[in-house]
């Protein structure tokens, strides 16, 4: 009996240890970034494991840079517009794909799925030409345009899956009442689709906020950059002397909005990720 209890106790503490190491491994690097961001430049080179003193000079340095604030607002603008455009185009497409049966439906879904697999670098030179042709080079709207390549496919995919699950009686009643397709979509379906729209919108926002390759290639000047590029470009007096405190403060500022979003909408994001991948 005691041996059995001992075994149980060992198993349970082993499991707790495993969980603790999972949490520590996941959270510690970000915690260490926060810790570093609160160090003055002289403390930076003493390794410590706990926050001892709050020094806000790095945050002051980041926030006093106009270019960083400009990048931050560019990121907000680009990510928000990307979400709006993907949802708008995604909703109309999902209505057609989810509610109407027509020849070619399967092919359209296949095309959408194929585009989501595109390596971004494969379209880089062609897209560069298109963006320059549209006069959108070094312009946040050019980024919004290019970001639809990865946000639109999964928006269409997830919204279509969701739209197909809604009962058809809703739509039939509205059509009998003489509603046009646009009215049906925006007055009948959209109010029911908030959960799916919130999920896809969040995923699109995070993807656009984090994107780097297009942002790096299609912008040129500091005032048009988004935050990932701005952080990658922070440099010190020489290549060997990066201002790590400032980089970490900027990183924390950029990541906090996302971490808050993720913690609030945890369930939603998980369901969106699994709907996008597993049901595909």
């Amino acid at each position: 009996m005691t041996r059995r209890q001992l075994k149980r106790w060992a198993l349970r503490s082993g499991f707790t240890l495993l969980l603790l190491s999972i949490v520590l491994f996941s959270v510690y690097p970000f915690y260490y970034a926060i810790l570093t961001s609160f160090k003055s430049s002289s403390e930076l080179f003493n390794v410590s494991y706990l926050i001892s003193r709050l020094d806000f000079s790095n945050y002051g340095a980041v926030l006093s840079q106009d270019s960083f604030l400009q990048s931050f607002s560019n990121s907000v603008l680009v990510s928000t517009l990307t979400v709006v455009i993907s949802l708008l185009f995604g909703l109309t497409a999902a209505y057609a794909l989810g509610r109407v049966d027509f020849r070619g439906r399967g092919s359209v879904l296949l095309i959408v799925l194929a585009v989501s697999m595109f390596p971004q670098v494969a379209v880089l030179s062609g897209l560069f030409e298109v963006i320059r042709g549209l006069n959108l080079y070094n312009n946040p709207f050019g980024l919004v345009f290019s970001y639809t390549i990865f946000t639109l496919p999964f928006t269409v995919w997830v919204l279509t899956t969701f739209m197909r699950q809604l009962p058809k009686e809703l739509e039939e009643a509205a059509i009998v009442d003489g509603a046009t397709p646009l009215v049906v979509l925006f007055k009948v379906f959209v109010p029911l689709m908030w959960p799916a729209m919130a999920t896809t919108g969040l995923l699109a926002f995070i993807a656009a906020w984090n994107e780097f390759l297009f942002a790096l290639t299609f912008t040129l000047t500091d005032d048009q950059r988004t935050v990932p590029v701005a952080i990658a470009m922070i440099s010190g007096g020489s290549a060997y002397e990066l201002p790590w405190g400032i980089i970490m403060a900027a990183s924390v500022l950029v990541t906090i909005p996302l971490v808050v979003l993720v913690l609030i909408f945890q369930r939603r994001i998980v369901s969106g990720l699994t709907a996008g991948a597993v049901k595909g």
Partner: protein, 323 residues
């Protein structure tokens, strides 16, 4: 939807008004295409046309400064034989080095992520207090922008002041600090470590979703028969979640094959870690050689297209099994 519309037609024929129903259906199909066209045009402008242009550019000597003036040069960007020497992408050892790096990175990091993701998912599938909190914690690496994680780890792996060297020296594993990101023997492992940290949550969540859909009766039967948990895992759990796990692995493989930001920021243009995407972008933007860079992009696209076809094939097989 297939079902409901065929029901509609059947109902229409039964009611004896095929003409009116037919017109309504046709009207509805036209409406569907009207609703699809904006999305299709956008996808064509942002993906289809640029892809065709990239492939076209790969047969030219275009440069980034002026993409309008160029000559068609056939397959010279890919492979050409001149004065007894092979030139072109397919004869460039640096390209093959990038291919080798990308494949090594993909195989090692996706395998590690699958195993670790499975362990995390199995732990999260058990009932314990604060489970929601642990699940939220593992989402954090996923939410952090790749650039930020590259910078964060770059600092943690710093050769003189990094905490990783400090820890390893404190524990007595190493005597002198290691130059994780600069040493060509270590830098690929540093990249893999950061990638595993960042994407294991994705694998874990997808695996967890599959685990939660498993029927409980198999487990009850196994328990009644007194089968060892490890045997249950390999004989029951793994075969049941294998299809979902396969889809998640292919997703990650496609993602890993196009890796760019992490490597670009963590180790910049070091040849020890250069991936196919980094190579293509370097040719295209830094050396302004659109033709050659496009050739590299095209080959990368072909590799990923092959993997996508494999995915679609598997997906169709799964859907067929479901139906």
């Amino acid at each position: 939807m297939t079902q409901s519309s065929s029901e509609l037609t059947v109902a229409a024929t039964a009611a004896g008004v095929p003409y009116r129903r037919g017109r309504l259906v046709r009207q509805r199909v036209r409406m569907a295409w009207m609703f699809l066209i904006p999305m299709l045009i956008l996808l064509a402008a942002v993906a289809g046309w640029p892809l065709l242009r990239t492939i076209w550019f790969s047969f030219t000597d275009a440069s980034l400064g002026d993409t309008s003036g160029y000559n068609l040069i056939g397959f010279e960007n890919y492979l050409v034989y001149e004065d007894g020497v092979w030139y072109g992408l397919l004869a460039d050892p640096e390209w093959w080095n990038a291919v080798k790096n990308t494949l090594f990175f993909t195989v090692v990091s996706v395998s590690l992520e699958t195993v670790l993701g499975l362990i995390v998912a199995l732990s999260l599938n058990a009932r314990f207090p604060l489970r929601g909190l642990v699940r939220a914690a593992i989402l954090i690496p996923w939410a952090i922008p790749t650039i930020v994680s590259a910078k964060m780890w770059g600092w943690m792996l710093h050769d003189q002041f990094g905490i990783i060297n400090h820890m390893l020296m404190g524990l007595g594993f190493i005597d002198t600090p290691l130059a994780w990101t600069a040493n060509p023997d270590l830098s690929m492992w540093a990249v893999i470590m950061v990638d595993v940290w960042k994407t294991t949550p994705f694998m874990a969540l997808l695996t967890l979703a599959a685990l939660q859909m498993l029927p409980s009766d198999c487990y009850e039967a196994a328990r009644v028969d007194g089968i060892h948990p490890i045997q249950v895992f390999f004989k029951v759990t793994l075969p049941l979640i294998a299809p979902a796990l396969m889809v998640a692995i292919i997703f990650r493989v496609l993602d890993a094959l196009r890796v760019f930001d992490l490597i670009f920021v963590l180790t910049s243009n070091s040849t020890a870690t250069m991936s196919m995407s980094v190579y293509a972008r370097q040719q295209l933007v830094e050396f302004q050689d659109v033709g050659y860079g496009s050739a590299a992009s095209t080959v990368l696209f072909l590799i990923i297209a092959l993997c996508t076809l494999a995915y679609l094939y598997l997906g169709r097989k799964r859907m067929g099994a479901d139906a």
